[in-house]
């Protein structure tokens, strides 16, 4: 009961990738490198497509601080520099969590993040994406979408 209360108050943020991405876990440094655009390819040499929510989105702010240990304004600075000085390409910004999960499902090499509560909501409403239902069978057991489903949940190690 207590555990239930705790999880309902502080939801976890999951890092998710397109199902064809070979990595099933990443270190904190790797995740940080990917989001600061210092690592552009997965270990099989396929291109990484990074997706984020708008910088003022609550989940984005939490993700930056908790998972990357970077303040959102620092990420903005790095990305703006790439985008507006021609040095490189910044992550693609999508408006909502649902759009973000759709983008990850449909883009090979994609990485993004999602609130585990949203995953549950998606499960409950059984949203059809691209004429496919999200594979939620495993999620009920593990509280997450399994690697066999439409997105991978990546484990982040220290």
């Amino acid at each position: 009961m207590l555990a239930c209360l705790v999880t309902s108050q502080v939801s976890a943020i999951e890092v998710v990738t397109h199902p064809q991405v070979v990595e099933s876990n990443l270190t904190k440094s790797q995740l940080r490198r990917i989001y600061t655009m210092r690592q552009l390819r997965w270990s099989d040499n396929s291109a990484i497509s990074v997706f984020v929510l708008p910088s003022q989105h609550k989940l984005h702010k939490r993700f930056a601080k908790e998972k990357l240990q970077i303040f959102p304004y620092q990420l903005n600075r790095i990305w703006h520099k790439l985008t507006y000085s021609g040095l490189g390409v910044a992550p693609t910004i999508v408006a909502s969590e649902q759009e973000l999960i759709q983008a990850i499902i449909k883009t090979p090499g994609a990485i993004g993040y999602i609130d585990d509560k949203t995953l549950i909501k998606i499960k409950q409403s059984e949203i059809t994406i691209s004429h496919r239902n999200i594979d939620v069978a495993d999620m009920e057991d593990n509280q997450q979408v399994s690697s066999k489903g439409v997105v991978n949940v990546v484990k982040i190690k220290d």
Partner: protein, 428 residues
């Protein structure tokens, strides 16, 4: 009578020239706004239609639009009459297209209006081919060919982008607007090598070689309207190194620049003679990015050699120095205050400008030898891509006003001057 006719004709010509100029200005602004809005609209349509995102990384379109008001009292930094000015317009549109795994095309066009600060109008900010020569988990090497941005100083690559720099007016010691179009980038080749190490942090090394075209108006801005000849940049070699320790809020860097310019006198008539200019510029910088506090500073030294120009046998060498320290504090996640102090002098052996005044027989007052600026500012992020900014500057000295070589001491007759500005910025 004849005199009156002549005067009337002159007035008419000047008013029609003025009208033509206004019309040209109006049309160019309208066209730019139309392009921006079409691009925004097209971008929106594209994202509506193409929800697959599969190509989202291949083609990207971004831009920004900002307008402000600026009021300068006591100098011709922005305009000559000292009135409130809207000459604070910055518009940009850029595209990036991934040709293949290793090659990417990128370009940006900007429209700038900053009054006397720099040339008004459109320019190609960058247009380059980006070759991703080597890529691994911890190493990246890129070669940029074409027109690339100066990526060597703390804010040099983002100085044109209003929301990406810390204030409306950057510290003029390092980011002198009169020198903007030459310092902002070059046509040539650049190489950037980045390394990320779990134990030692991030390392970035950039080396560039190229030259910048020097327009007639840029020549006027630097040398003054009485220089009838042609100035050009022969080459510029620029290198920098940055280090950020692993998971550290600190970053340290330095840069070295070496450049040669030449001036070819007008064969028919000129006040100046053929000359070579040599310019070296060294910076050391530090950046701290905390949750609420942020600190940045740059210290620099320049060496400027004039061989000729004032006369065939003139050789003049001066060493200028400067620094600025900047503190920002986040009152909330959207509201940031800024305080900055900068100090700059053209000649380290003449910090108070007395020698300058003496050597010019009083033509150039002593206060053209230095520039000190106390700045207070406020930035409010209204949404994720819409911000408002305001700031106030208290300036002592005229050392960073244009034209540089032949200063305008008639308008700039005061040692102390002030300015304030408000700017709204939108980007996508």
């Amino acid at each position: 009578m004849l005199l009156k006719l002549k005067t009337n004709a002159a007035v008419e010509i000047s008013s029609s020239v003025n009208n033509f100029y206004c019309l040209k200005r109006f049309i160019s602004r309208t066209v730019m706004f139309a392009v921006i809005f079409t691009a925004c609209y097209a971008g929106a349509i594209k994202s509506e239609e193409n929800k697959t995102y599969s190509n989202s990384q291949d083609f990207q379109l971004h831009g920004f639009i900002s307008q402000g008001v600026i009021d300068v009292n006591g100098s011709d930094f922005v305009n000559d009459d000292g009135e409130l000015s809207t000459e604070l317009t910055e518009i940009g549109l850029n595209a990036s297209y991934q040709l293949s795994d290793q090659f990417r095309l990128a370009g940006q066009v900007v429209y700038l209006d900053g009054g006397n600060r720099y040339e008004k109008g459109f320019r190609v900010d960058y247009a380059l081919l980006d070759w991703s020569a080597y890529n691994s988990e911890s190493w990246q090497a890129n070669v940029y060919l074409g027109r690339f941005k100066n990526n060597h100083w703390l804010y040099s690559s983002s100085r044109v982008v209003p929301f990406a720099r810390p204030s409306i007016i950057l510290p003029q010691s390092v980011y002198f607007d009169g020198f903007r179009d030459i310092a902002v980038g070059s046509d040539g080749a650049a190489i950037k090598i980045s390394h990320s190490n779990d134990d030692f942090g991030n390392f970035d090394f950039t080396l560039s070689y190229g030259r910048s075209p020097v327009s007639d108006e840029q020549t006027d801005i630097l040398l003054g309207g009485i220089a009838m000849g042609v100035a050009k940049q022969d080459y510029e070699t620029h290198g920098s190194f940055y280090w950020q320790p692993a998971f550290s809020p600190w970053r340290f860097g330095f840069s070295l620049l070496d450049s040669d310019f030449s001036y070819q006198e007008n064969a028919e008539f000129d006040f100046f003679v053929n000359s070579d200019f040599s310019f070296q510029f060294y910076t050391i910088n530090v950046l701290y990015e905390g949750e609420h506090w942020e600190f940045s500073g740059e210290v620099y030294q320049q060496r400027f050699v004039i061989d000729g120009f004032y006369g065939p046998d003139v050789y003049k060498e001066s060493t200028g120095q400067g620094y600025y320290g900047q503190v920002r504090y986040k009152l909330t996640s959207d509201l940031t205050i800024l305080a900055r102090y900068e100090d700059f002098y053209l000649d380290k052996d003449d910090k108070n400008g007395q020698k300058l005044e003496q050597s010019t027989g009083g033509l150039v007052p002593y206060y053209f030898g230095f520039h000190k600026d106390v700045t207070l500012g406020l930035n409010y992020d209204i949404t994720s891509n819409f911000s408002a900014r305001m700031e106030y500057h208290w300036v002592n000295g005229a050392g960073r006003l244009t034209p540089v070589v032949v200063p305008n001491s008639l308008i700039n007759d005061s040692e102390d001057w002030e300015m304030w500005a408000i700017q709204l910025m939108y980007w996508f």
